[in-house]
Symmetry: C2
Subunit: 525 residues, 2 copies
């Protein structure tokens, strides 16, 4: 992962002349990219980790695994939200953890937590560093120092059980590496969020990630069978069976806990055989409401495809839904993507049933090509964002979810909040939306916002984000469907779970992390 | 509900001569039923509720809704486990709450909790009273008195949303009444546990109930969208969207909380249109392992029927799996039941896919009749238990769940523990088992145990139950799949969630119920 943008250098492509032309026309920007600083030129805030603390950590994990190196600290400076990336592009020193610690296993994680709790060192658990909500910001809080606890060495797959369809994955495994290790056993996890290429198993669980194949394989939280968790108060092992009535499901306290209650070290997950067959089919709907009703009919009938998505008119029009190739080959109306995975028989049966419902609900079959194009380009959007930021165009996303009956109203209210708040700053935006995750009772809404940058784009976005968040809460949506809370959504947590809900979270944290060292400033208000 | 047995008087039938003959032959019992006491003859422990406390409660809910009447207290004396029923059949005074309180709504529930927390009165939330784990035992604990908080007046359906497929149900609604109110809107919940006819919506949620159609409609916890909860510390409203990444899912703390953390007053649930079509199909498998592998193949392919069950050889042989008509018309090998519900198209597609898999896995199609017979008799087993208890035959059930790969071993170990522990008391049992709930990664095991009663059948069963519970824990199962913890499974809670998990539960309880009045002696060790 590069320090000041998404992904790897090879993924970055300059904008095409056509797109630059469009941006000039719509937003009045020049389209010429700025020159970014090299990593070596970037000053960091000084590390305040004392030699004594450094020695203490070295005693736990070894000298090779405690780094105060400039580049290591820079790469753990935070996540990948647009404000994060704008901060990296700004002059002046960058925030960074005081050290980066690389434990080898659960026992070392526990020992690091014990050490840090005793010595007032804050700990930011760090997986792929792809948070877009400030979830891995190196917040020192009231502590002497803050370390990033990088879990990359927890990278094994154990306890593969092909009969039950489960495997235990180390928290530090990235999406591609997990798939590679499972593939050696003919298995797949099937969790493909946009962050797939860089994010980690522990991060997926800690943030309630949801992948693009969630209609078929479920959200990441649905996949979790068992968790091993290190906390300053001890180790938890939760999940003894596929389902249980033995009291509250405590796993659900730690899935989504964002490193504030403990560090997930091992996650046992539901896996499945590598699909024997995959079928692709794209659809066009005359408008978003018709398309949404069609998706609903499929999911409520119990006939959900593996992937099920619907772009609204704006997103379909500029073709962001397909390969990030803005401007090329638009589909009229609203584009929907379906894929079907499984045995040949299952794919045949399910695609026949779902296709009949989509057609009956007003869908026009577009064949497989647009669905294959979507799949080909599905991890490319964050790179496109960097190219836009480089030409002084603001680009950010946010997401929510609500019931089917509230979907249109919520979409309209959030769109209006974003449009109005940016237009009021003389930067009227382009607001696009798609449904990427569906449930029998409702769906997610994922917004992409593009506007001309002001001189202080972070402040500019902050105003829009606040307007959108307030609109979501007022309109009955959840403040986040799959990006988690971090620092950015924390102002709305009381609205989400109530003041008493916040007290419950605090009580659990006090029990497990009495010193409060775990990921300060995140999640819990 | 009658006070000393399951259900209503009309449900009780004497054993047939054929069954009595079988019992005499196998267990050496006479087959002549004992005479049970009338409710009016039963002495109760004295109510210790002082007039001042009674007046205090009357101030909250009105004089008509605070009862110290003998019959009301007797009907709230506890649940319906076999030890419960054996205690009712024993001489001497019965345990009972000191009063029964019937609040009208959420606000009254909250006011009762506030009053009781201030005045050291324990509160046992009471729905249908069908607990089989001691979950509604009138435990006074360290408090001055204990009341049963009967929620039957919270009996409305509100916020019906047919688009989203959701409805908000009062906690006191029974299964049949909920279905009746939903049916007026063309909707159904589809939750049919064996307790369906008497148990309540709040009870289903508080105990993580799982119905016989769980393969199709999910467990009750899967259905929960939103909860309204009264606690001594205030009111919680949880669940803003079909799915969310806004931190831990706090609903999952209260689903399964068994009245120890708060009182569920309203539950918003996923509902579905009354099925257009239902198809029934029964199967025979040569042995349990073959049948289990067949069920697994269907569930893992994503082709699960609405109902999917498999009885082992013993249960199939004595035909308990069908209508409780023991001895009649046995099927060879192991009987499996499938039903398919939904639109005509869905039923056709799904039954074709599932049937092909079951046939390919060694199943023989038995036609629809055995599946219809099973459905017809599916709520009858608890009545049969009463008839057996009346002729001095012990009959009890217990359940667990585990991964598919561990299923055979767990079944063998639990069967051995039950057999050995009862044989050692010179009462060798008949142990039957079925799979009633399936998941991609595993399944439940539901055991029925029948043996000759000793003079102290409660002590006799306690030995067998302890052996079974220890075997479950040692063999990697969960201590309860859908019966909850109550008092009976509490000894194994530390094994289930670990000592630190218990500390987390205690911390949450301390925050919400600092006086500890809520359902003392249940769930939390």
């Amino acid at each position: 992962m590069v320090w000041d943008a998404w992904g790897i250098p090879a993924g970055h492509k300059p904008l095409s002349a056509q797109i630059r032309g469009l941006l000039t026309q719509v937003f009045g920007v020049s389209g010429d990219p700025v020159t970014r600083r090299g990593a070596g030129e970037v000053p960091l805030r000084d590390s305040v980790l004392t030699p004594a603390r450094r020695d203490g950590l070295i005693e736990v994990v070894g000298a090779d695994n405690v780094s105060v190196d400039h580049h290591d600290r820079l790469l753990h400076a935070g996540g990948k939200s647009t404000p994060d990336l704008l901060r990296r592009r700004a002059d002046g020193p960058q925030d960074a953890p005081d050290a980066v610690v690389f434990p080898a296993d659960h026992e070392q994680v526990f020992a690091v937590l014990t050490y840090c709790a005793e010595h007032a060192v804050a700990v930011v658990p760090f997986g792929g560093g792809t948070s877009v909500v400030g979830g891995v910001d190196p917040v020192r809080g009231r502590f002497e120092a803050v370390i990033a606890l990088d879990l990359r060495r927890l990278d094994t797959v154990t306890d593969i059980d092909p009969i039950s369809g489960t495997a235990t994955l180390g928290a530090g495994l990235t999406g591609p590496r997990a798939e590679e290790l499972l593939a050696a056993h003919g298995l797949s996890l099937g969790h493909f969020p946009q962050s797939f290429e860089f994010a980690s198993i522990g991060g997926f669980a800690a943030t309630r990630s949801s992948g693009q194949a969630s209609a078929g394989y479920g959200r990441f939280d649905d996949m979790v069978q068992h968790l091993k968790i290190a906390t300053p108060s001890g180790t938890l092992e939760l999940g003894r069976a596929p389902a249980s009535a033995a009291g509250p499901d405590l796993r659900e306290l730690f899935v989504g806990s964002e490193g504030t209650l403990g560090v997930l070290t091992e996650v046992t997950l539901r896996v499945h055989p590598i699909p024997e067959a995959i079928s692709y089919l794209a659809w066009s709907f005359p408008d978003f409401a018709t398309g949404a009703a069609a998706l609903r009919s499929v999911v409520q009938a119990g006939a959900a495809p593996t992937v099920l998505r619907l772009s609204d008119e704006v997103e379909t029009g500029i073709n962001l839904a397909r390969s990030g190739d803005v401007g090329g080959n638009p589909v009229s109306g609203c584009l929907a993507i379906t894929t079907f995975e499984g045995t040949e028989a299952h794919v045949a049966a399910r695609s026949a049933e779902a296709s009949a419902l989509l057609a009956a609900s007003g869908g026009t079959d577009l064949g497989s090509a647009p669905a294959r194009e979507w799949e080909h380009g599905r991890f490319a959007a964050p790179y496109m964002r960097d190219a836009l930021l480089d030409v002084a165009v603001l680009c950010e996303t946010l997401e929510t979810a609500t019931s089917w009956s509230n979907l249109d109203d919520l979409k309209a209210k959030v769109t209006a909040a974003l449009t109005d708040s940016l237009a009021a700053q003389a930067t009227p935006p382009l607001v696009m939306c798609h449904i990427s995750h569906t449930y029998p009772t409702g769906a997610s809404l994922y917004f992409t916002i593009i506007a001309k940058q002001l001189d202080d784009p972070i402040a500019q976005w902050h105003i829009a984000k606040k307007a959108a968040g307030d609109a979501i809460v007022a309109s009955g949506g959840t403040i986040t469907h799959h990006h988690a809370v971090g620092t950015d959504h924390r102002p709305w947590m009381s609205a989400e779970v109530g003041d008493l809900g916040v007290r419950v979270l605090r009580a659990v944290k006090e029990e497990l992390d009495p010193a409060g060292i775990l990921n300060p400033g995140k999640l819990v208000p």
